[in-house]
Amino acid sequence: MAKPMDEYKWHELNVGCVIEEIGSAREYKTGDWRSQKPIWDDAKCIKCGLCWLYCPDAAIYQTDDGLYTANLDYCKGCGICAKECKPGAIKMVEEER
């Protein structure tokens, strides 16, 4: 959006709130919702990619060395990756901000 959401007047919105900008959901950093974050123990990781597959927010990505990590801008801390990780390489830890 061209300006913060709470500065839009009603007549400045598109009819039906249509968003013409492609991929604008990226601007909304849902990582703010998180209370826990996933931590990888790279020694235990077998690079199976299940965490990447299961992440409902597509917030997990593979690094150049084949290991996985979360993009904390979008990770909501749901813990599905930790639950699905077969070797137990992912741990959810409380996050202090």
Binding site: D6, W10, H11, L13, V15, G16, C17, V18, I19, E20
Partner: protein, 395 residues
């Protein structure tokens, strides 16, 4: 002028949709709407109407499919009744919130339980605040004309809202009436192809129906509300243009014999013809009553109604729905609130009639008239446990 043709009103409604060159119909059959969608299905199958007919498994899906097709920019029509309208309920808000100019013929029918396939206004009154523009029809000609006008209203860039054309189940939908159809060329001149503001198209992707945070939801709903409030100007303009082209003039609020009396009935739909007959008969006996027929119910025609109510002393609001625990029927509540907040000194009575297909005859309105005339203006009803009367109920 084109010749009039004796035809069932439901079939006429589907011909009106054909004349409007609808491109997508998604509907699920339900009594008493069935003939409308069956005939549209035939027209498509016979190649007489170049449209896609989407067979769906429910009304929830029907309205969802309509939203999808309208979002792609196709002129979209559907029709339903009673339980079908209720099953669509959540999608009705989505259609209006996404500003999709769908037109729906709602063939008004009682709601279960007890199960009834017969006519009343329970269905539409439960959907009255869904953000749809709502027209009510008194006869078959109005149904045809309203469906054609509905697309022009809905698709106006200043409006972009869905429109519901209400016609009473059986007492209007299944009667055979003489109806004049405009030619295709005339309709084409009145109603050009739909030119959507936004469409769902892979070449120019947009997001429709997105999530709104608390910071935006109020502004979004306010914008929608302003659209329906100001749609009345377009509705009046479209009605005027229709009149100039086709010779049949419509107004949001029609009146009958109101200039001769300070006592008026107010009602919605086909029942108004019975009231007019009753008024004519009363006249023969030297008694005067008037009628205010609300052709437009949403947006509520505040200005026109206040004008029609000017100088009136006794108003009888006729409704085909139970209040459901409210102080009065929904139409009464709005008229009462409007009149009293504008400082009008009017006594308003509420009569419930014609539930679940119960016949309402001109005699019933004559009885109401006599009862009103025999009752003092300022009778207090506060001692009663209800503030309305139900005509013909066996007590």
């Amino acid at each position: 002028m084109n010749a009039k043709k004796g035809i069932e009103v439901s079939i006429a409604a589907s011909i009106a949709a054909k004349l409007a060159r609808v491109e997508v119909v998604a509907a699920y059959p339900i009594t008493p709407q069935t003939h409308i969608v069956e005939h549209l299905s035939e027209l498509v199958a016979n190649g007489e109407l170049d449209a896609t007919y989407i067979n769906v498994e429910s009304e929830h899906s029907a309205m969802s499919a309509c939203c999808g097709s309208s979002a792609t920019g196709a002129r979209t029509f559907t029709s339903t009744s009673a339980q079908g309208l209720e099953l669509m309920h959540e999608i009705l808000f989505i259609a209006s919130g996404m500003r999709l100019p769908i037109v729906m013929a709602t063939v008004n029918r009682a709601l279960s339980s007890p199960l009834s396939i017969w006519g009343d206004h329970s269905d539409v009154m439960a959907a009255r605040d869904t953000g749809w523009i709502m027209l009510f029809c008194e006869n078959g000609q109005e149904v045809v004309d309203s469906i054609i006008m509905a697309f022009k209203i809905a698709e106006d860039r200043k409006v972009l809202l869905p429109v519901m054309v209400n016609l009473d189940g059986f007492s209007l939908s299944h009667v055979i009436e003489p109806i004049e159809f405009p030619s295709q060329e005339e309709v084409d001149k009145f109603l050009p192809p739909y030119n959507p503001l936004y469409t769902l198209h892979p070449d120019k992707p947009v997001t429709m129906g997105a999530y709104a945070m608390p910071e935006l939801y109020t502004e979004a709903k306010y914008a929608q509300e302003m659209a329906i409030v100001h749609s009345k100007e377009v509705i009046v303009k479209v009605m005027d243009e229709f009149g100039k082209r086709f010779g049949r003039y419509y107004k949001p609020v029609e009146t009958y014999n109101t200039e001769n009396t300070d006592m008026v009935f107010i009602a919605l739909g086909a029942i108004n013809e019975n009231i007019e007959t009753a008024i004519d008969r009363l006249k023969e006996e030297g008694k005067e009553a008037g009628l205010i027929d609300l052709r437009l119910f949403r947006p509520f025609p505040t200005k026109e109604l206040l004008f029609a109510l000017k100088g009136k002393k006794r108003v009888v609001v006729i409704e085909r729905v139970m209040p459901g625990g409210a102080t009065n029927g929904p139409l009464f509540n709005e008229i009462s609130s409007l009149a009293h907040s504008n400082g009008m000194n009017i006594t308003i009575e509420n009569y419930i009639v014609g539930l679940g297909g119960r016949d309402v005859l001109p005699e019933d309105f004559r009885d109401i008239f006599d009862e009103i005339k025999a009752t003092p203006e300022k009778r207090t009803k506060s001692k009663k446990d209800k503030n309305f009367s139900v005509i013909g109920v066996r007590e």
